[in-house]
């Protein structure tokens, strides 16, 4: 039954989407086709689909570990940004730009930066009782401003005609695509490993079980001696590491350099992916594929039909609304109860 809610929510989102397109004066069926099918009609489309799904799935896996323990890291966007910055920093300034160690070093730097950025809210929540939702979010704004500072200032490419962007990363700092014609690259294997690790952790480890108990029944967890601060740290570190790695893979993959906009909102969309996936590793894979299609479809109809790309965010919101509402009908049984007066009348009769 837990599978029914995401399917139901997706169908309802399609229905609302059709009505929406119709009200805009676009024939719904061709528009839906352009949004959800056309992007996957070519090899390039499939490559882009997986390329965009990969960071979403990766980040969502990390976040879900926290969400299971009621640790609300909603600042993955900032951790992603910091990961991309640190990885690009290594790629740009490492003394030997041809070193085979470059990519592994960038991986470590990206992961470390994501974790460091998440460590601040983790410390503040664990030691200072500070709400992690607000802190992670504020840290996201700060990370974005830091990126903007770097690309406008010290890291700006001197040969870049004053554009706010860094120089291109050296070849050794890039993931080589499987095929030069498409952008999909081996970083997708990182995501595959992450999904497996996430499954091991949540379904096969005692620590993962303790985290789930902390989320589902905090009092029971405390009684059993599970430390809340451990759940906070693990939850935030998992999310920070995943987002940092995703940022690194994005910088060393499709981007190849830093600019003020490096993420189309992966960090926020991954929150929705985690929920659609029911905080479960394999669910997250499906959720990530769906969300990636929403991004691609949004870009597609923007180019072919001139519809605004804000549609993607609207669909994301609607999808999450329906998913949450669908849960209600699955987890509760609806009973109509007569007003109290009627039973009173029965008793006196």
């Amino acid at each position: 039954m837990r599978v029914a809610a995401p399917v139901l929510a997706s169908v309802l989102t399609l229905v609302v989407g059709s009505i929406f397109f119709a009200s805009l004066g676009h024939d719904p069926l061709p528009t839906l086709y352009a949004f959800f099918v056309e992007p996957l009609n070519s090899l390039n489309g499939l490559s882009e689909w997986l390329l965009k799904a990969s960071p979403l799935i990766l980040i969502a896996c990390g976040l879900a570990i926290g969400f299971r323990a009621n640790v609300w890291n909603i600042g993955a966007e900032g951790q992603f940004t910091m990961g991309a910055i640190a990885a690009s920093g290594v790629g740009l300034f490492w003394p030997n730009p041809d070193s085979v160690l470059l990519l592994p070093l960038m991986f470590v730097a990206g992961m470390g930066a994501g974790m460091a950025w998440a460590a601040i809210p983790a410390f503040l929540r664990a030691r200072m009782n500070t709400n992690e939702i607000l802190v992670t979010l504020m840290m996201t704004y700060i990370a974005t401003l830091f990126l903007s500072y770097l690309v406008h200032g010290p890291w700006r490419d001197p040969a870049g005609f004053n554009y706010p962007q860094t120089a291109l990363l050296p070849t050794a700092a890039l993931f080589e695509s499987f095929d030069p014609a498409y952008r999909l690259n081996p970083s997708i294997f990182i995501t595959v490993v992450a999904v497996f690790v996430m499954w091991l952790f949540t379904d096969r480890s005692f620590l993962g079980y303790k985290m789930s108990v902390s989320g589902a029944a905090p009092l029971a967890a405390r009684y059993a001696g599970f430390r809340e601060s451990a759940a906070v740290w693990i939850g935030l570190m998992a999310g920070g590491a995943a987002a940092g790695i995703a940022g690194m893979a994005e910088a060393a993959g499709p981007l190849g350099q830093l600019s003020p906009q490096i993420s189309p909102g992966y960090g926020f969309a991954a929150i929705i992916v985690a929920f659609i996936g029911r905080l479960n590793a394999f669910g997250i894979v499906l959720g990530g594929l769906l969300m990636s299609l929403l991004f691609l479809g949004g870009e597609g109809v923007q180019m072919t039909l001139g519809l605004p790309s804000a549609l993607t965010r609207i669909f994301q919101g609607i999808l999450l609304f329906f998913l949450l509402a669908a849960d209600f009908f699955i987890f509760y049984r609806i009973r109509l109860i007569r007003p109290a007066r009627d039973t009173h009348a029965l008793e006196t009769a």
């Binding site: 609300w72 909603i74 503040l124 200072m128 009782n129 500070t130 709400n131 939702i133 607000l134 802190v135 979010l137 504020m138 840290m139 704004y141 700060i142 401003l145 830091f146 903007s148 500072y149 406008h152 200032g153 926020f268 929150i271 929705i272 929920f275 605004p308 804000a310 549609l311 993607t312 965010r313 609207i314 669909f315 994301q316 919101g317 609607i318 999450l320 609304f321 949450l324 509402a325 849960d327 209600f328 509760y332 109860i337």
Partner: protein, 306 residues
């Protein structure tokens, strides 16, 4: 002297949207509901109010449209959180994303032209007084409305029976339900009120503060308003003080940029976010102070039994 006047008035103006949004959220949270979607509701309010002005409606109608847009958006959250008993964090986040998408969608045709901003009041004699005039009597009407709302909400929460019932529901919906109060209905009203206030905050941004439409123009103000409620430890007067503190921070940052300080502008822009974190830490460390006014049932779904 002019600089001091500019800083003072700038602070009051920058604080106004925060006062609206945070006071609205205070009422929502006092009823035991946590709506994280302020950012989305503010953006809806900002977009609708801006649209109404460009469509030629008079200013009061535009501002009302903003409030209604915020309330309509909050209804989405209300249905999910109160009727469908969903996780309130998730429902609020969905609203924040949805609101930013819908407002960007609506705003795609707005263009980048500024509109004529809401004008300051002009009271005969008072507005012309030296010093006191510009300091107190030349703001736009919404600045005064925010203060009136502050007074009204303080009075409502702590001096009326309805306010007492609302706070009781926030402490223990089970008890309130057993006594016979319509918990869900009252929470709906609180959520709608919070939405309307967030809508007003957004409207203020787009028709008075910046008078133009920029996608995602709230830039985190909705989240700062959420932080303000925690900072204020759920007390109205502290929301007012906190909003002025943040308003002052914003203005100092702008003045700093105008004076051409030898600091990267990004660092100055990051100040309000940094300040939010620091202030939250200082307040949250003291668990007792938080617990004193914290609505005990906050963010816990309530289902009337039987």
């Amino acid at each position: 002297m002019d600089l001091i006047i500019a800083i003072f008035t700038g602070t009051v103006i920058a604080a106004t949207p925060l006062i609206f949004a945070a006071l609205g959220e205070l009422v929502v949270e006092k009823s035991g509901v946590l709506n994280l979607g302020i950012e989305g509701m503010m953006l809806m309010g900002a977009a609708l109010a801006f649209w109404a002005v460009t469509a030629g409606y008079p200013m009061p109608v535009a501002i009302l449209a903003g409030a209604l847009a915020g309330a309509a958006a909050s209804l989405l959250f209300g249905v999910l959180a109160l009727t469908f008993l969903t996780n309130q964090y998730a429902a609020g986040l969905a609203l924040a994303i949805f609101g930013s998408g819908v407002s960007a969608f609506l705003g795609r045709g707005f263009g980048s032209e500024p509109i004529e901003a809401l004008r300051g009041i002009n009271v005969p004699v008072l507005s012309d007084l030296p010093l006191i005039g510009p300091l107190l009597f030349r703001f736009d009407p919404m600045v005064y409305l925010a203060l009136v709302m502050f007074a009204a909400i303080s009075w409502f929460l702590y001096r009326t029976k309805a306010g007492l019932i609302l706070r009781t529901i926030g402490e223990s919906p089970q008890t309130s339900h057993a006594i016979g109060y319509p918990v869900i209905r009252i929470r709906y009203m609180a959520v709608l009120f919070g939405g309307a206030m967030a809508g007003l905050a957004g409207a203020y941004l787009s028709v008075a503060y910046t008078p133009l439409w920029v996608e995602n123009m709230t830039a985190g103000k909705g989240w700062i308003a959420l932080a303000l409620v925690v900072f204020a430890t759920w007390r109205p007067l502290r929301i007012l003080l906190g909003a002025w503190l943040f308003g002052g921070m914003t203005i100092l940052q702008l003045q700093g940029q105008a004076l051409g300080l030898e600091v990267p502008s990004e660092l100055l822009s990051a100040l309000p976010y940094l300040a939010t974190i620091i202030v939250l830490v200082l307040i949250s460390r003291n668990r007792q102070m938080l617990a004193l006014h914290f609505p005990a049932s906050l963010a816990k779904p309530f289902r009337p039994a039987g």
